[in-house]
Amino acid sequence: MKRLFRDTSISGRENLISFSLILPFLIIFCIFLLYPIIYSLILSFHRVTDLYDVFGGLKLVGGRNYTKLFHDVEFWWAILMTLYYAALSIPIGIVFSFLLAVFLVGRIKGSRIFRTCFFLPFVLDVFVVAIVWTLLYSSPYGIVMKLFELIGLKIPPLLSTPATSMPAIVAAMTLKNAGFGMILFIASINNIPQSLYEAASIDGVSGFAKHRYITIPLIKPVILFLVVTGTIASLSAFAEFYGMTRDGGPMINLKGNIVGITRVTGMYLFREFRSLKLGYAAAISFVLLIISLTISLISFRLLRER
């Protein structure tokens, strides 16, 4: 708290100018985002009994939505699997797009075309990507299976085997999204003054060490951005899972509970919302909000820019 308010020394004029720059954003934010969030918070302590009156005609249920949520094994499982997805997809995505950026940042021949090719899938509909990869992965007819067969490797059907279904989805999504991270990395590497590298060379610093001590610290803001947005995207990911493993993927028996490997929180929320359990869905959203916020705060700490 103290940290948030310590800047009381800032002059009125400075505050005024700062706020007027934020103002257009702030107004839209308050009306169209903050108000709905507050409404959802109120909703999470209620049950909707009359669809004609979703504001007044609510029935107060207190914390019951939350207690029900905390007692649902499937919800905890969904959170666990979502974290698994995030733990796989975020680092792999960052490393992959960083490597692409390193390859393509220089003036190598055709780098423009390559950049375009890698970025394009990012704007493609997740739906299309999901169908295509389902076809590619499908066993025994899919191309991926045939390729593995060709090199003499017998692999299990990727999307329907518990151990491989999540990595298979991560691979498909990484290939789709890496171009975005690549663009950000290229932009920020380009912004590093060349003089820094020159100075390092004069001091006799080797190639690898140059990246370690100059590049990495200077692209930290991009990494932080990708970690935080990646976490948020994982917690609300839905289309890719729905498209590739409709009902939650291969099932496993977890101490008597049947749970799906790819039944992630986005999927869980979608089902409850579709059942019109609006209060319950709101409660889920707030638990997810708290988780994202915690992870984000930790990332901000760890990747602090200096």
């Binding site: 800047d7 934010f29 009306i31 709905p36 959802s40 979703v54 890698f118």
Partner: protein
Amino acid sequence: MSRRFFIYIFLIILVVVVLFPFFWMFVTSFKPQGTGLSMTIIPEKPTLENFKLVLTQYKFGRYFFNSFVVSTLGGIFSTLFAVLAAYSFAKRRFFFRNGLFFLFLSAMMVPGMMFMIPQFVIVSRLGWINSYKAMVIPHLANVFGLFLLTQFIRGIPNSLIEASRIDGASEIGVIYRVILPLSMPIVATVFLLSFQFNWNNFLWQLIVTTKESMYTVPVGLAMFRSAHEELYTLRMAASSISIFPIVLLFLFTQRYFIQGLTEGAVKG
């Protein structure tokens, strides 16, 4: 020499893999209706029927126009608002700055469907149903873009800003002369992404319109799905047409994405 050769081979293989969904979408749109899920890649009897149907049976011309207006307005204004705010967050001090930033970020963490009912109620009370306003304005606070720009603008050396101020530039002048040119790749990215967001935004654009003349491309595309079946070939044809403007936009703005700070290019 050989190292470079292997890098090229590697990159080319990757490109093939990465662009395969694109290729598949495009090829499928030439397949006869009903064979959308056929596993033969190249259509045996290619046909233009899907494109013809998409372009004639539905008012896609109108949908395109609507989508274009909504996406362009949405893209421009949300990027503008985000740049102004991001500069303030990145380079200025003010009361409750970090708190406000986290408040903004939290909005990104609440799943989108929770906003639907209250946002719709506001828009409806304002009498905006069936208007571009209803489709554009609620999404002008682009937190994702704000966050991205803030992260990036933070990396711009303060000395450049100070120099510009000493030259007598106002804050708007600083943004225009220093911030914008230096963060052009990111500004272009934010614009493209919010253009694309609006271009693909199906649910919201569906619920705020009750006239077919106000429908947009994604709403039109959704007509290809009925209770039991998906007209894949039609959907792929429509998706191919629909993605075209985005690809075009990207190709045209490419130089902004790729351009970076080359020393000496910046003059205060």
